[in-house]
């Protein structure tokens, strides 16, 4: 496309003149919020990674004394919690924010201020749950916080003393706060995707990332309520002395487990589907081929999401649910391998007879296929309950979920970061450093997590802060620890690249990868209004309609090529005002409201020990929340 001129450096420096701290605190621009998500989540990824490094150091050899048992228990709890809720989910949210409006041809999300609110709530919730680790008071109940260990009877006071243990209070409160953030964001994106698509952008023409994100939003709105309820019960047990999980009152601890996993299993698809979406953008681009079996890819994504609600008890095969329940959940779980397999094969078929360019994002995407498959297969091994009885709560499970989470979600997210960095910043990430990152990462993760299959099957339980010599696990643990150190190097290379390239990376044009979808039709970084003129879409691959006019990019046959005049890149110098596009006012009201919410929960935490102070803070927070909401809802958007 001849019109894709290289932007001038001035254009790269920033698409809107507004800058400075305030412009970030008050922003309602989905791209800026996406950027905030990206930076924050990467920071949490480093924190979670640092925790992992400490875990692995402690386990390098038998009977190590690097950290104490109590510290270790906080480390793995916070590692899991951080990686799941504060790193991978928000990294996905960064892409939801940045990409969905661009991919569907919209100027923003449906509720821009709600979007800002979601981010701030996430940030403060993350801080609330993470900060205590500095005081050795971090949550220590494991990332799934099983009752009754998480009830006041066993984690309310230090055993044998009356000293208040707040560790799990932070977890309970923090996760509730984070739930608010996720739910608010999900309603927002559901509405955005349903209602803000550009003319011609039918559901079945949406880019695959948007589709997978769409499925994820439904998983979010259906999976978060059960955990919210479970957490409310736990919080009430801890703060008001209710009996939901109180052993002495005859409570059934399996209630917690069921409510948690009703959330927890859909949650793992919340973690993987965005990554699946990202590689579904990367693979076609660098194979120069449309996605193989688009429709089936959509349906399998929906199928995975739907089946995901019927398998939760596969995390509980050892609790003694009975043969019938075990069988049902086992079969349901196995079913999920089918739609997932379809995705794997369709990706490979997408590359088949293409022209594959091995860019860094492409390498990460290919690695996802290779590595996720391993994790998926060990998942199927778990799905057979008798076999799982030998695997559950061992390092075999740890191997499984790191292959799907690191080999799947993280690989996919890195693919996305390398792919979209030019769109976000206007500059490429350095290719050489990127390659170094990729290979270190790829080797490092296999060295870290592959040996865990063996240590698990050879009898090593998970969540142990130490193990005795002579158990046959030494070699595997040592290898895993070396692997982790390799990952540290890999991550350091990435961080260096990420920071450096913002100012020194090669300048990227609007469409640096020769891609097909709408987000590449506008300058990099995009102007605040995204599209000077909302384009009319005629097919799934509007840009390829122009570049490869002989391809009929939409197999439905009814497709009309997208209107070329719509897809020409605007020079970035126009302001929204000059174009007459009304933009939302920047406002810090969502920030203020979010602070109110977190202050409220802070008050609730204090309430247990200091009624008056706690209540005062709680009411202050509530007043801020209500006042903020009121001010926000009564002020115009644009």
């Amino acid at each position: 496309m001849a019109t894709l001129a290289t932007p001038t450096p001035a254009a790269v420096a920033g698409s809107d003149a507004k800058s400075g701290l305030w412009s970030w605190l008050a922003t309602t621009d989905h791209k800026r919020i996406g950027t905030l998500y990206l930076w924050t989540a990467l920071a949490f990824f480093l924190i979670g990674g640092l925790e992992a490094v400490m875990i692995r150091t402690q386990l390098a050899r038998p009977n190590m004394g690097f950290v104490s048992a109590e510290t270790y228990n906080q480390l793995f709890t916070m590692h899991g919690t951080t990686m799941v809720f504060l790193a991978v989910m928000p990294l996905s949210a960064a892409f939801f924010n940045f990409l969905i409006p661009l991919q569907i041809g919209a100027r923003d999300v449906a509720f821009p201020r709600l979007n800002a609110f979601s981010y701030w709530v996430y940030l403060f919730g993350g801080i609330l749950i993470t900060l205590p680790i500095l005081f050795q008071a971090a949550p220590d109940g494991g990332w799934f916080g099983y009752a009754p260990l998480s009830t006041p009877a066993y984690s309310g006071v230090a055993p044998g003393s009356s000293e208040l243990k707040m560790n799990m209070d932070f977890w309970v409160a923090g996760l509730q706060v984070l739930g608010v953030s996720s739910l608010a964001a999900a309603f927002n994106f559901i509405t955005t995707i349903i209602n803000m698509r550009a003319p011609g952008m039918t559901l079945m023409r949406m880019p695959m990332f948007t589709w997978m994100s769409f499925v994820v939003q439904f998983l979010l709105i259906l999976a978060f309520p059960p955990i919210t309820v479970a957490l409310v019960f736990l919080m009430m047990d801890r703060v008001f002395g209710t009996t939901f999980y109180q052993v002495a009152a005859g409570a059934d601890p399996l209630l917690w487990q069921h409510l948690f996993w009703v959330f927890g299993h859909p949650e793992v698809y919340i973690l993987i589907l965005p990554a699946f979406g990202l590689v579904s953008e990367v693979l076609p681009t660098f194979s120069k081929k449309p996605l193989f079996g688009y429709n089936v890819m959509v349906y399998s994504g929906i199928m995975i999401g739907f089946l995901g609600f019927g398998v939760w008890a596969h995390h509980m095969f050892s609790v003694g649910m009975g043969a019938v329940a075990d069988s049902i959940f086992s079969l349901m779980t196995m079913l999920i391998a089918i739609p997932t397999g379809v995705k794997i094969f369709n990706w490979i078929a997408t590359m088949w007879s293409g022209e594959i360019r091995f860019t860094v994002p492409m390498k990460f995407a290919i690695a996802l296929i290779a590595m996720f498959t391993i994790g998926g297969i060990s998942g199927v091994m778990h799905s057979s309950p008798p076999a799982d009885l030998q695997q559950t709560d061992t390092y075999f499970v740890v191997a499984h979920f790191h292959y799907v989470l690191f080999g799947g979600s993280i690989m996919g997210i890195f693919a996305g970061i390398y792919f979209y960095y030019p769109k976000i910043t206007g500059r490429f990430l350095d290719e050489r450093l990127g390659n170094a990152h990729f290979w270190l990462n790829f080797i490092g993760m296999n060295l870290t997590f592959f040996p865990m299959h063996f240590s698990g099957l050879l009898g090593m339980p998970r969540r142990i802060y130490t193990y005795d010599a002579g158990q046959g696990w030494d070699l595997f643990n040592l290898l895993a620890t070396y692997g982790t150190y390799l990952l540290v190097v890999a991550t350091a290379v990435f961080v260096w690249n990420f920071v450096r390239s913002r100012t020194r990376g090669a300048v990227a044009g609007g469409d640096p990868w020769h891609a097909a979808t709408l987000e590449w039709s506008i300058p990099s970084p995009p102007p605040e209004y995204n599209f000077a003129k909302i384009p009319t879409i005629g097919s799934r691959y509007p840009l390829w309609d122009l570049k490869e006019p002989t391809w009929n990019a939409d197999p439905s046959g009814h497709a009309v090529p997208s209107d070329p005049s719509d897809l020409q890149e605007e020079t970035a110098s126009h302001t929204a005002k000059a174009l007459g596009i009304p933009m939302p006012y920047p406002t810090a009201k969502p920030l203020f409201t979010a602070i109110g919410l977190v202050v409220m929960f802070g008050g609730l935490l204090l309430f247990r020990d200091h009624h008056a102070v706690g209540l005062a803070i709680l009411l202050t927070g509530a007043a801020m929340l209500i006042g903020g909401l009121y001010a926000w809802l009564t002020s115009p958007l644009e």
Binding site: N63, A158, V247, G250, A251, G320, S330, G341, F345, G472
Partner: protein, 420 residues
């Protein structure tokens, strides 16, 4: 085509070999492997696992080979063929939906069969064992035999053991990798598990673990299983069921004391010293089963004058230290009136056990002394409080002004060591 097949076969063979090596590996190298067919339970699980590995390997190889072939074959080359805009292929897509489905059927059928087999009622004639989880140790009860013990489980080979799993506090999970899968101990609920140690097993020792995170010392909640011959079991059980006595030689420099004098005066049960029962021989452990011998080093920062141990007075230990130390408030010793508490492990035949504290430490006088002096220093979070005088209690965050001095501890140790 043939070439491709060969290339596919190679990794299969490789992985299979790797697994075979692992599963065939000697007891000493991988003492907790899940691959040994020591029970019918483990045989069933392993048969299933083999099938999973078989199909898993095939899927793995197919996917990875297809992937590698694709990216090599279709990498962009100057002058290479142009990309073809293929949108899909219904026949292909149906194929790779149906084939995995078929594979899953082949996995699902034996899975369901095995679920029902392993979860059926235990066969008649099984020996009943109650397993009670505590933070962080195991209580084992044989209700039919009147035996109560801790952290060390004896089972006769060739006879089904039917476990009733319960917990006193939080969740735990009972797991002996070599004997089969685990089962959780759930608050307010009784779970069941059974397996039969193969009749042709020689008397052997195995490791058991707590496999459900249960707090500070979850890692230190281990136990031992001794699968022994029926007559050995018989002898062990008969002895364990008897009340405590000083049946063995007391510590040197102390005259042999009649049992009646040692235990609190009016203990009727402690008159006759029964012949010592069977206990798994220590020398065999050292020679054949080193993996069941704890290697945990005693943490730095605790001192005890081991010379005192030689002069420990079991009588004083029983009549003075055991009371002063408050031991009686938590520990039961059958035959000793007042010592009935179930907070801590039953100590009736403590000296017949090879390990203490959830399999964390060896059971010998120097370790016992340090344990009594400051259990919480030795085992994070331990419910047993710090008893040594002048010791720092890491949970209460105070230093004991009261408590036992080293001399008194040595006496208690002498007493405990006599509880064969």
């Amino acid at each position: 085509m043939l070439k491709l097949r060969l290339r596919q076969a190679a990794p299969v063979a490789l992985v299979a070999m790797l697994l075979l090596t692992l599963s065939a590996c000697g007891l000493t190298e991988y003492p907790n492997t899940t691959f040994h067919h020591n029970t019918e339970f483990n045989s069933a699980v392993d048969a299933l696992f083999d099938r999973l590995v078989f199909w898993g390997t095939i899927v793995f190889v197919v996917v990875e080979v297809a992937l590698v072939v694709t990216i090599i074959k279709f990498r962009k080359r100057p002058g290479g063929p142009a990309a073809k805009p293929i949108h899909g292929n219904a026949a292909l897509e149906i194929t790779w939906t149906v084939i995995p489905a078929l594979i899953l059927v082949l996995i699902a059928i034996p899975t369901v069969k095995t679920i029902f087999e392993t979860q059926a009622e235990a066969p008649a004639g099984a020996i009943k064992v109650e397993v009670i989880g505590h933070q962080w140790w195991w209580e084992f009860r044989y209700p039919e035999l009147g035996v109560v013990t801790a952290n060390e489980l004896y089972l006769p080979v060739g006879r089904t053991a039917a476990f009733e799993l319960k917990t006193k506090d939080v969740l735990h999970s009972f797991w002996i990798p070599q004997m089969g899968g685990k089962r959780d101990l759930i608050t307010n609920k009784t779970n069941h598990l059974w397996f039969t140690p193969s009749a042709d097993l020689p008397s052997s020792a195995w490791n058991g673990f707590c496999a459900e995170y249960c707090g500070s010392s979850h890692a230190n909640m281990k136990f031992r299983l001794y699968t022994v011959q029926p007559d050995e079991f018989e002898s062990w059980a008969r002895h364990q069921a008897s009340p405590a006595v000083f049946s063995a030689t007391p510590a040197p420099a102390t005259p042999v004391i009649p049992a009646a004098q040692v235990t609190v005066a009016d203990s009727a049960a402690s008159v006759a010293a029964p012949t010592a029962g069977y206990a798994f021989p220590k020398d065999r452990l050292e020679a054949e089963f080193p993996h069941v011998i704890p290697q945990t080093p005693i943490p730095a920062g605790i001192t005890f004058d081991d010379a005192l141990l030689a002069g420990g007075d079991p009588v004083k230990g029983a009549t003075e230290g055991f009371l002063l130390g408050g031991c009686i408030g938590c520990h039961a010793i059958s035959g000793v009136p007042g010592a009935v508490s179930e907070i801590g492990p039953n100590l009736t035949h403590l000296a017949s056990r090879h390990t203490i504290a959830g399999g964390l430490y060896r059971n010998d006088a120097p370790t016992l002394a340090r344990w009594i002096k400051n259990a919480r220093h030795l085992k994070p979070g331990s419910i047993m409080n710090t008893i040594g005088k002048g010791e720092y209690d890491p949970i209460l965050k105070t230093t004991n002004t009261m408590g036992l001095d080293d001399r008194q501890i040595a006496d208690v140790v002498a007493y405990l060591m006599a509880l064969k």
